[in-house]
């Protein structure tokens, strides 16, 4: 093993996120990075190339399996410490908030591992941000469709123009202290109920 290069194993069922983390580590100059998608492959991987740092997402239900495997494994020497340094609670907090869990072979210096974890944390955060933005864009589109449908109901049934229909929805929402899309949805539901 090279003195400079730590070997990193990424375990993530989400293939896109896994590749985002792997790319980040490679861009930062880490060449010894492996990725697996299922904890059950870990036995083979660890035996053929023992990692120094293991990064796994917190939502992975097989963390218990992984920890038990460590306790039996001779390839990954016991004890396995979680995160770099227990006294560094801020780092641990940041990692957990981002959804990252990491295992580090005991005895490694904090300075050597911290950049790897920081990279994993920032990539996890970037991935959640992307997912959230996508979700927001999707729901904004959904909401627009609902408002458009409510507008056209008003335009047809009350003979209003588009701006007037929109203004009526908005005023009603403001008066009732509710969201525009909720008023629109109620209108659609009511119209569906009343339609022959």
């Amino acid at each position: 093993m090279s003195d400079l290069q730590l070997s990193v194993l990424i375990i993530d069922e989400n293939r896109i996120r896994a590749s985002i983390i792997e790319d980040g580590l490679r861009e930062a100059g880490h060449t010894r990075v492996q990725t697996i998608y299922d904890v059950s492959e870990v036995a083979r991987t660890i035996t053929s190339a023992p990692p120094d740092v293991i990064v796994i997402d917190l939502e992975n239900p097989k963390r218990d399996t992984l920890e038990h495997f460590f306790s039996l494994s001779r390839a990954v020497r016991k004890p396995i410490a979680m995160f770099v340094d227990r006294s560094d609670t801020r780092s641990i907090e940041q990692a957990v908030e981002a959804g990252v869990s990491a295992y580090v072979v005991d005895g490694l210096k904090k300075e050597r591992v911290k950049p790897i974890l920081d990279m994993a944390v920032s990539r996890f955060n970037a991935f959640s941000r992307l997912t959230r933005e996508l979700e927001e864009a999707r729901s904004a589109l959904e909401e627009r469709k609902i408002v458009d449908r409510a507008k056209s109901i008003l335009m047809q049934s009350r003979g209003l123009g588009e701006p007037e229909a929109y203004a009526l929805l908005r005023t009603t929402a403001m008066n009732q202290n509710r969201r525009l899309v909720d008023i629109a949805q109620s209108l659609i539901t009511a119209a569906d109920l009343l339609s022959p």
């Binding site: 939502e59 218990d64 495997f69 306790s71 995160f83 957990v96």
Partner: protein, 401 residues
């Protein structure tokens, strides 16, 4: 009065019922607590988030606070429990292939642990490969009771079979795909294994060791020290939740609450069967007395003798060396003193002793009771005051606590 917020983590298991009922039926609110429940995906997450303070309290495997206090697990942090989440609830389920072999070797259909284990031993001896069993976590009641049962039946856990770890919801699928031959888990995952993976329930925890501990409401020791009033309120809320959930007339209401998608997300009748101890085994129906005990028999009392039993099993299976310092740490993780202090205002009986002998009673028996002392200065001892459940067990290891 504004409510104090408490965040609690849990896994989708039937014995999260006391936390859930404490919230849903208003027992927590009655104690001035607003209980926010978060469903987690692994015991490791429960442990880490409790250690980091994301959760104030959590449904934990009973050995978890002990393992954390003894430094056996990552992020080791001193943890305690002042109240148990009931007794029992586990069973051992095997694949239909293994069950077929066990029946041929004489397995009975009534879940009797000794005869069932002997048939398994015959299968293990004759098998050309090592059978693989799964438990939910290394430091779990499931791991220790599976090993206890196997050993009592003449099967050496680490030599004759393989024991792996998988989270509860993944067990039925693993059984079906042939990845494992059997597992020990809490309900509803045995019944789910019978219904969806052609599994057979071979025996139950309550038959291996009746009225035995399994889960606790665990918390960081320093958090409990800093928030005594909140901890007392929580103990009372859990006690009342147990009292309510233990009434047979409330069974269908409990089943309805637990079956909701945010909790177990399983059919209500399956949940109700666990409450009644009526198991569909895959080859018949067996009613197991005391299958899950939410409240009766002092089920919520944290016996320090139970903490020491877990410690003895950690030593037995080589997880840590035996020492009187370790034993003291393990024992102090279970806090009967907090339980008694919390319940004093309710005027109910609580055990006056911290330790008891298990495995010696075929019938419920009285333990000395403390409580109902209006002045709080001197505890009353009443030898007939409180019944502890019968605790028949399959086998008691020489020298075990």
């Amino acid at each position: 009065m504004s409510l104090v917020s408490i965040t609690a983590g849990f896994l989708p298991l039937f014995d999260s019922v006391l936390l859930v009922v404490a919230k849903e039926m208003g027992f927590a609110e009655g104690e001035g607590l607003s209980l926010a429940l978060t469903r987690e995906t692994s015991w490791a997450n429960i442990r880490d988030r409790a250690a980091l303070g994301h959760f104030d309290v959590a449904l934990m495997l009973a050995p978890m606070p002990i393992a954390a206090s003894l430094g056996l697990t990552p992020l080791a942090t001193p943890m305690i429990t002042p109240v148990m989440a009931g007794l029992g609830n586990n069973a051992i389920t095997v694949s239909s292939e293994l069950w077929g072999l066990m029946v041929a070797a004489g397995a009975p259909d009534d879940l009797a642990p000794k005869a069932t284990g002997e048939s398994l031993k015959a299968v293990v001896k004759a098998s050309s490969r090592r059978l693989r069993f799964a438990v939910v976590h290394q430091t779990s009641s499931h791991n220790y009771e599976l090993r206890y049962w196997l050993s009592a039946c003449g099967i050496a856990p680490d030599r004759d079979v393989e024991i792996v770890v998988l989270p509860p919801p993944l067990l039925p699928e693993a059984l079906k795909s042939g990845g494992i031959d059997g597992y020990c888990v809490g309900e509803p995952w045995n019944s789910v294994g019978v219904e969806t993976a052609s599994g057979h329930i071979a025996t139950a925890k309550a038959l291996i060791w009746q009225n035995s501990p399994d889960k606790v409401i665990g918390m960081r020791a320093d958090w409990a020290d800093r928030n005594p009033a909140v901890v007392h309120g929580l103990v009372r809320a859990i006690y009342r939740a147990g009292e309510w959930a233990g009434k047979p007339t409330n069974r269908s209401a409990v089943a309805e609450i637990m079956s909701r998608s945010g909790y177990l997300d399983q059919p209500a009748d399956l949940v109700e069967r666990a409450l009644a101890g009526r198991l569909a085994t895959g080859h018949g129906s067996v009613t197991v007395p005391d299958f899950y005990v939410p409240h009766a028999s002092a089920a919520n009392f944290p016996w320090q003798s139970h903490a020491l039993w877990y410690y003895s099993q950690m030593v037995r299976w080589g997880e840590l060396p035996s020492s009187s310092a370790h034993a003291d740490i393990a024992r102090a993780c279970f806090r009967p003193d907090i339980y008694r202090a919390a319940l004093q205002s309710l005027g109910v009986d609580t055990p006056a002793i911290d330790m008891k002998l298990d495995g010696a009673h075929a019938e419920p028996y009285p333990v000395p009771a403390a409580g109902r002392d209006p002045h709080g200065s001197k505890r009353l001892l009443r030898w007939r005051g409180l019944r502890s459940g019968s605790d028949r067990c399959l086998y008691r290891a020489p020298g075990a606590v």
